[in-house]
């Protein structure tokens, strides 16, 4: 069930009404049922994946809990008798036990994810090698990918790691854990929640709070506006540009980059708005996943503001453990001794970064273009670290830091940089992506832009006007948000203004949304209507 489908609207309406009619203590059970029904629409066999992850995570968390409890009890009982060394040894053994349980859970669940998502990728690469020796290629397995498997697996594994670390309470009710893992608004595209945060509002009893619900509804409408009016509209042009690289090289690559940047932002943040808004209508609070990322002034900042929960997940569960891993510390010492001038200190960090970015890349998709994309991000981040002395020298001579025009330059530079990296996401083919990027500098076809080429991409003049108005609207909202919540501001205004906000949003979506058959640009016959 997609967010932008009629079934979802109906499903949501029924669930919403039931939620506030039912006894408050059963609300979370209703959410669990709703989540499983939502997921079943994709295919009832996929529920098996949910159940497997939930049960395995639950069992392991209970086991770890038992070990921790036993440890506490034992140490308390034998506080006086044991020596420090003995206590340390005992703790080590207990930790090791917990670690083994954790490892089993991680291997099992990441194993499922790995097999389902990455088998065909591995087979493709193996076939590539085999073809060099004229070997018989293996056939692809074509596993059906359960919706959101990357998201819920990471979310549940984050939970079990937190349990292991002791930073999170164990959930003893398997159904409640099941809800945490399968909560329907976030299962499609995140945000990836932490149990500590989500459990604050997921299981509580919720009153019918009109303000909260209307805020949630406004956010949902805003998300639909971004998705249907802006993203799906400009997607037509993006597809035209990407689908014919031979024709659309040179300056058109830049055009495509910018269009895609708009499309991805509107689509992804719009989807998250719907997610968070829907959750809010049920009284559940989800973490923000975006913080006006296109205002970032450098790549490091960008990754703190774009897809935030993914970034923090990799940081907390891969980067930090990796950095403090004994083997990494050993390498770090060696590096410090071997390489001169402080670079020795930075290399281990870079190595960790590359590993994390490799994982990030491959998390996005089972193909080389995503891996290269991830690694290129790492390259840029590391390079910008290396260039720090140069920047310091620059800013000491040219006093532009903090000035508005310089900030705008930084924002523009970061925007273009991130858009360039995203080319790998567009063409899905590594050599082609590099070739197209290069053609921006080697092919001179700027004049073609004035010849109306932009109106031959599937967008009419009216479409462009709508997109521009939409982008300006997004920009305005973002600028206002810097000074506080837009919805709070609306809330202070008189009724007529509040009504107008709903009215305009609803009919902008109904009239200008790029949905339904009438919008299929390839069906010429509709020129009649």
């Amino acid at each position: 069930m997609y967010f932008t489908s009629y079934q979802f609207a109906l499903f949501l309406l029924i669930l919403f009404i039931a939620y506030y009619l039912v006894k408050k203590k059963y609300q979370w059970i209703l959410l669990l049922a709703g989540s499983y029904i939502f997921y079943a629409f994709a295919g009832i066999e996929y529920l098996f994946y949910f159940a497997t992850t939930t049960i395995s995570t639950y069992l392991i968390s209970q086991k770890i809990k038992k070990v921790k409890a036993k440890q506490k009890e034992y140490l308390k009982a034998n506080k006086a008798e044991l020596s420090r060394a003995e206590k340390k040894e005992y703790k080590k053994v207990m930790k090791s036990k917990q670690w083994h349980y954790l490892l089993a859970c991680l291997l099992f669940n990441f194993g499922i994810l790995g097999i389902v998502k990455y088998t065909d990728f591995m087979i493709g690469n193996i076939n590539g090698i085999l073809s060099l020796f004229n070997g018989e290629p293996l056939s692809f397995m074509n596993f059906a990918l359960p919706m959101g498997i990357s998201f819920y697996t990471f979310q549940s594994m984050g939970y079990i790691i937190d349990v292991y670390r002791g930073t999170c309470e164990v959930e003893d009710n398997i159904l409640k854990l099941g809800l945490f893992i399968s909560f329907f608004p976030q299962v499609i595209q995140g945000p990836i929640s932490r149990f500590k945060d989500l459990s604050q509002t997921l299981y509580q009893e919720h009153d019918f709070d009109l303000k909260n619900i209307s805020f949630g509804l406004q956010r949902v409408l805003w998300g639909f506006f971004k998705k249907l009016v802006i993203a799906d509209r400009i997607l037509v042009a993006v597809n035209t540009l990407i689908g014919d690289p031979a024709t659309y090289d040179g300056i058109f690559v830049l055009v495509g980059m910018i269009y895609y940047a708009i499309e991805l932002y509107a689509d992804f943040t719009g989807g998250i708005d719907i997610t968070i808004g829907v959750a809010q209508m049920f009284g559940v609070h989800l973490t923000e996943n975006f913080d006006r990322p296109y205002f970032s002034k450098d790549i490091a900042e960008y990754w703190r503001r774009w897809h935030i929960t993914m970034g923090t997940w990799f940081k907390d569960y891969i980067f930090y453990p990796l950095s403090v891993n004994p083997r990494m510390l050993k390498f770090s010492n060696w590096s410090r001794k071997t390489f001169p001038n402080g670079i020795g200190k930075r290399i281990p960090v870079y190595v960790s970064s590359f590993i994390v970015w490799f994982a990030t890349g491959i998390w996005h998709g089972a193909s080389w273009n995503f891996i290269v994309w991830g690694l290129l991000n790492a390259v840029v981040i590391c390079l910008s670290e290396e260039f720090k002395p140069f920047y310091t020298w620059f800013h000491s001579h040219f006093h532009v830091e903090g000035k508005t025009y310089y900030k705008i330059f930084q924002i523009g530079r970061t925007f273009l940089l991130m858009s360039s990296l995203r080319i790998l996401d567009c063409y899905r083919n590594v050599p082609l992506s590099f070739a197209m990027f290069g053609s921006m500098f080697t092919k001179w076809n700027l004049p073609e832009l004035w010849n109306g080429a932009l109106l031959n991409l599937g967008l009419s003049m009216l479409d462009y006007i709508i997109i521009i108005v939409g982008v300006l609207l997004m920009l305005t909202v973002s600028l206002i948000q810097r000074k506080g919540s837009v919805r709070e501001k609306i809330y202070q205004k008189p009724v007529a203004v509040k009504f107008l906000v709903y009215y305009v949003l609803i009919f902008a979506i109904v009239l200008f949304g790029a949905y339904s058959i009438g919008y299929d640009a390839s069906q010429f016959i509709y020129n009649q209507f």
Binding site: L462, Y503, S516, G518
Partner: protein
């Protein structure tokens, strides 16, 4: 709290009214462009539902038969519930709906649509179904007709399907927003007086399989049963259109079916000479459809058959019918005059959906 409830209720009302206003505005009006779209809905404008004969089918019925001729020559009151590329299940459900309004003596069905086994084209679906009033028949017709990309909710709230027309609105959309459309057909007949003759029709390409599908036969069976249950005579016809091809193998199946089910089947293609059709002058699109002259000839011929075979009463004696139909005849003659005038003036039927040559 009460205040909030009132505000919310008023807001919802305002939003709903805007929605339905926009819907009325943005739905295509089918007056000067694609007048075929208005055909189905015009049935509901009739004052009295007392037709002796009802035709059901695709463009081969609404272009080839003239109810006015049937009236003037034989006193037969008829209506043509035809629409563009009407599929057999759509015809069946129209029949079913019509019987809720009246019980004609004869229902005539053009069997060309037996060649279409599955849903074909969303645009034609909309022409054929949007005009129907809501009923279980309409619901069933939608279910049977939807192509893969369609969704029932687009039929319940057509604004969702036509919303992008905001960039194509014409004065017509505003003028006819709340109805008041001019009448375009003559009891379902779309008049064309222009001529485009034909010399030869290309040879039809052979098919791998001439057998009509089970799905279509099922609907044909349903039609037979529906008419039987309501004591109505069903007449199957194949209109004398030269194109698209009507294969002998198809014709044989219909002859056989008619025999087995005790209904009449007439293939007018076999009687072109008797009807007196001249495809140099009696067609406006090189043999696909008859023009006014051709339709009148065919109606004259068929009317005679109907009277002789089914003994349909001559209603010209009934003063009530006579006065109602006199108005229809006047409207028909006026339009004929107007069309000839346009043909003189512009060389083509500008206001009647024709395109400049």
């Amino acid at each position: 709290m009460k205040k909030k409830v009132i505000i919310i209720t008023i807001s919802i009302c305002l939003i709903l009214s805007t929605f339905f206003l926009l819907q009325s505005l943005l739905m295509p009006k089918y007056v000067s462009e694609v007048p075929e779209g208005s055909l189905i809905a015009e049935y509901y404008n009739e004052d009295v539902y007392d037709h002796n004969v009802v035709f059901v089918g695709d463009c081969e019925v609404y272009e080839n038969f003239s109810p006015i001729t049937l009236w003037e020559e034989y006193g037969i009151k008829s209506y043509i519930r035809g629409s563009a590329q009407q599929l057999i299940w759509q015809s069946y459900y129209l029949m079913e709906e019509t019987i809720q309004y009246e019980k004609p003596d004869v229902i005539v069905f053009n069997v060309l649509s037996m060649k279409y086994d599955v849903p074909q084209n969303e645009a034609y679906n909309r022409l054929n179904i949007d005009g129907m009033k809501w009923s279980s028949s309409k619901w069933n017709a939608i279910q049977a007709s939807m192509t893969e990309e369609e969704s029932v909710i687009d039929y319940i709230f057509p604004l969702l399907r036509y919303h992008q027309r905001w960039s194509e609105l014409t004065s017509e959309d505003f003028e006819y927003m709340f109805g008041g459309k001019p009448q375009l057909s003559h009891n379902g007949f779309l008049m064309r007086v222009d001529e485009l003759g034909v010399d030869t029709i290309p040879e039809a390409q052979p098919l791998a399989d001439y057998q009509f599908s089970d799905n279509c036969y099922e609907y044909l069976d349903k039609m037979v049963k529906l008419c039987q249950d309501n004591d109505i005579k069903l007449v199957l016809i194949k209109a004398p259109s030269l194109y698209p091809a009507w294969y002998d193998e198809w014709d044989e199946q219909m002859v056989q079916y008619a025999k087995e089910n005790h209904v009449d089947y007439i293939n007018f293609l076999n009687y072109i000479d008797e009807i007196g059709l001249d495809f140099q002058h009696d067609t406006y699109d090189a043999g696909l459809h008859l023009n006014l002259s051709g339709a009148e000839k065919l109606s004259r011929y068929f009317g005679n058959y109907l009277v002789e075979k089914y003994d349909i009463e001559d209603s010209r004696k009934d003063s009530d019918s006579a006065s109602r139909w006199a108005k229809k005849v006047k409207f028909y003659d006026d339009m004929k005059e107007d069309q000839y005038r346009e043909l003189e003036e512009y060389g083509y039927l500008k206001s009647y959906g024709a395109k400049e040559k």
